[in-house]
């Protein structure tokens, strides 16, 4: 079930990987599986700031770690 608040995040991954990604998102290591790379992390940070006003600190190690999983990206925004 998609959280409407984070539709923009689902859309980001759907645009790249297709609709089936929604089912798999929660179980994937997004970096390990090659779905996102360093430029995508920046793109996600821009998207998050644009949609939520939350500015992501890209210098922090925990930001990079959080970007590995969909749930932890949401946690990062919720902090």
């Amino acid at each position: 079930m998609q959280n409407k608040k984070y539709k923009f995040l689902y859309d980001f991954f759907i645009q790249r990987e297709g609709n089936q990604i929604v089912e798999e998102l929660m179980n994937l290591d997004l970096i390990e599986s090659g779905i996102i790379d360093s430029l995508d992390i920046l793109e996600l940070a821009i998207l998050i700031e644009k949609n939520t006003g939350v500015k992501i600190d890209l210098l922090k190690d925990e930001t990079f770690a959080a970007m590995r999983h969909f749930e932890s990206i949401i946690d990062l925004v919720e902090k």
Partner: protein, 132 residues
């Protein structure tokens, strides 16, 4: 005033050919093990911006993904600053601006040891350098 421009490419010869420059015009070469790149510097005259050619030597270098996505191209614009922290601070609260990296590196043609910061600013990559 622009201090230097950084151009990323998979191969040195390709980018030199694009710029119609020769290897003899390279004034300095640095292997940056931390970023995974070999940097080649060209300074045609003291009044002109330095050209920094950034060539990755490993897959996870800081420019590898950029090159995979965009090919050879202008990667960043470099500015000298008297205060790196002040320059970074000007971007801190601006929308679409993100501090990406900070480190120190020795570059002879930049005046020796420099502190550097890369900032993504609404589609542009800006590098600030401050002499240490």
């Amino acid at each position: 005033m622009i201090h230097h421009v950084g151009i990323a490419s998979k191969e040195l010869d390709v980018v030199l050919q694009s710029l119609t420059l020769g290897q003899s015009e390279i004034v300095e070469e640095i292997r940056d093990d931390l970023q995974g790149n070999i940097l080649y510097f060209i300074q045609q005259s003291p009044e002109k911006p330095i050209i920094e050619l950034v060539i990755p030597f490993r897959d996870n270098s800081t420019v590898s993904n950029y090159i995979k996505r965009y090919g050879t191209g202008l990667h960043h614009i470099g500015f000298k600053t008297k205060s790196l922290s002040l320059s970074i601070g000007k971007h801190k609260f601006l929308r679409g601006h993100f501090l990406l990296k900070q480190y120190e590196i020795y570059v002879e043609c930049f005046g020796g040891m420099v502190k550097t910061a890369f900032i993504y600013a609404n589609g542009m990559l800006i590098e600030y350098i401050e002499n240490v």
